[in-house]
Symmetry: C2
Subunit: 251 residues, 2 copies
């Protein structure tokens, strides 16, 4: 029986996108078991007592109906749960979580049609509420950019901690005008029984995470066992480390 | 003997980052031979008469000294050449092109130390000069964001067509202030004998290309033979297609 902190599912493979969150966990002292996006869920994993489960670009078709029900039960019984966005998360292109038992326990309602929003102009992260996950991170002073997110609707009793705010940048002569557009829920937290739940609707890895990956005033080099090495920003690392520590009730 | 338009070297692998430029070429009717970033250069390729060579995250250590000289000779004799940025381009983390014969014929001077600049705040593409590569693309109206670039110095007689302009976005109450910072050469064109040469100092693929990948008012789905399928913006596709067609003197 595994006694790891986190069960991490998705983000393609440890040698590809999953190297990012794996690297963050590795340098934050968070232990994890991992399953890549192209492998069906292994029911034996449900016998382990993880503190939290991370689903990120792991299509719902990898689960059987009964596995999804058992996973939802685990969360009701005390395991934290986060879904991180991407083309195979929430509804997405291939996530298809809208009519699964996980949609019932996440803090957001999931659309029943493609919810992807790709943004080429500045999509800035905006702090909406104080929360231990974001304290001491300079969201106001140096707002980082992301490249897209899944559009979700926060449930009543959830808290929207961060939003993505869209700007259009246009140039006349040599000066730029930034026009503020719509904003979208980005980090939403909630509770399910005694468990903490969360949705982060952008990605932790390219391409949606985009410039956020380099957010920081220092560089962090990290590499989990069997994973691609990463070189990222220290605020990026701190932010995702905080999210996982909050889910596992360490902060 | 191959009669393809382009020799494309780098961007990891067709199943990973190289799927982007390969997809663009595929849907633009541009034929190419390809070599991934982890394979040494194959000298037999120099016997083909390509119209242009694309180097993108293909470390200089993949070439022998004599292969680099022969490639430089080919360019002097009429083959177009572009280097596209990344951690294994220009000097980068592992590009190491500063003291190669290619540094002599590219339109920019390459630093002899790490030239990578990762930017988490809005780094906008700014149009500096008219050029067939960028005509009809709305750089002014909808400036797209990139996530980083290699810092290079344009040579005399080169033309800087695009620059990357850095902004810091800060929030007070609910309103944002954008403060313009430095700008950096992004698309630089030149000539070498009868050949056209260019440097694009950001990446064509994640993570540096970031939000630029989705630039457009319509989506493009494309897939080159043996490559990962891509879904990108139509302006992104047009832009890189234009660059290659300019290098091969089709526009």
């Amino acid at each position: 029986m595994s006694i790891k902190d986190i069960l991490y599912l998705g983000d393609t493979d440890l040698r590809q996108q999953a190297g990012y969150l794996a690297g963050v966990m590795s340098c934050s002292g968070i232990s994890f078991d991992y399953l890549p996006s192209n492998l069906s869920f292994d029911e034996k994993l449900l016998k382990n007592s993880y503190k939290a489960v991370v689903l990120s670009d792991y299509p719902s078709s990898n689960f059987t109906a009964s596995q999804l029900e058992k996973l939802a039960e685990m969360v009701k019984d005390g395991t934290g749960l986060i879904m991180i966005g991407g083309w195979e998360s929430f509804q997405g292109l291939d996530g298809n979580y809208s009519s699964t038992p996980l949609a019932d326990i996440l803090p957001v309602n999931i659309s029943d049609s493609d919810d992807r929003m790709n943004v080429s102009s500045p999509l800035l992260i905006s702090r909406e509420l104080p929360h231990p996950v974001i304290s001491e991170l300079p969201f106001d002073k140096q707002a980082p950019v992301i490249g897209g997110l899944n559009r979700v609707t926060p449930k009543p009793n959830s808290e929207v901690i961060l939003r993505g705010v869209k700007f259009t940048a246009s140039k006349t002569e040599s000066s730029y005008t930034f026009t503020q557009g719509e904003s979208y829920p980005l980090l939403i937290t909630g509770f399910c029984g005694k468990s903490r739940t969360a949705a982060f609707t952008s990605d932790v890895a390219p391409h949606w995470a985009g410039p956020l990956i380099d957010w920081g005033d220092a560089r962090v080099n990290a590499q989990a066992d069997g994973a691609e090495a990463i070189e990222v920003g220290n605020y990026y690392t701190q932010f995702f480390s905080n999210i996982l520590k909050w889910l596992t009730k360490e902060i």
